[in-house]
């Protein structure tokens, strides 16, 4: 069940299951990913379920003007976080296509999920 889109050497998998603004889970999950990367770990992000909505282009400010998580997402490459897996089924369910997203991502089919979890040393689920 090894899969080409993620490397066995990746150490930390951060699963993001929430969208922007509604809660702090997305932000706190991204913070964990950035810190892991800053500490030299190889980090994979998996946008899963409602987490795929974090990637929708054209996000705006929150209810009190707060800037949200889009700026953080745009910094991922700077931290060498380049493996962005996205739950294809969740995109389909919401009528979203890769072209609607603000970053290039790798679609992940349901059949690849278990292997992705198995091959990372540490899995953090937000």
């Amino acid at each position: 069940m090894q899969d080409d889109t993620t490397k066995a050497s990746s150490q930390v998998l951060v699963i993001l299951r929430h969208g922007p603004h509604g809660s702090s889970w997305l932000r706190e999950g991204l913070d964990a990913a950035l810190v892991a990367a800053a500490f030299g770990r190889e980090v994979t992000l998996l946008f899963y379920g409602e987490g795929v909505t974090a990637l929708v282009e054209g996000q705006g400010a929150g209810p009190l003007g707060q800037k949200g998580t889009q700026p953080t997402l745009e910094m991922l490459a700077m931290y060498d976080i380049e493996t962005l897996l996205v739950d294809q089924q969740a995109l389909d369910e919401r009528g979203l296509a890769a072209s609607d997203l603000l970053l290039p991502v790798t679609p992940l089919a349901p059949s690849q999920l278990a292997a992705t979890l198995a091959e990372h040393e540490l899995v953090l689920n937000f």
Partner: protein, 96 residues
């Protein structure tokens, strides 16, 4: 007439079913926060039974990049319109 607010997406939480079951024939439903995901054309069918009485908060749609993706049957209101909806309703019940 009761205004019901809902702040969860129908893809994640089943609370939307509780809200719908509790709605009277003139009651209105306002989608706020993560609930505005339900205004997407591919998800709005969950609210088919109360079509025409489904509102969504503009600011929460905009914050999520969904302002231009909202289904045409959903009535979009801003924070001022939210207050108006609470004025017009006898009371407001929140579902979360």
């Amino acid at each position: 007439m009761i205004l019901h607010t809902l702040n969860r997406s129908p893809t994640e939480s089943r609370v939307y079913r509780q809200a719908l079951a509790a709605m009277g024939p003139d009651d209105r439903l306002l989608l706020i926060e993560d609930g505005v995901q339900g205004a997407l054309p591919s998800l709005v069918r969950h609210f088919g039974d109360v079509s025409g009485r489904v509102f969504a908060l503009r600011e929460d749609l905009e914050a999520r990049g969904l302002a231009g993706r909202c289904d045409a049957t959903v009535l979009v209101v801003d924070a001022d319109g939210f207050v108006t909806l609470t004025e017009e309703a006898d009371k407001t019940v929140s579902w979360f």
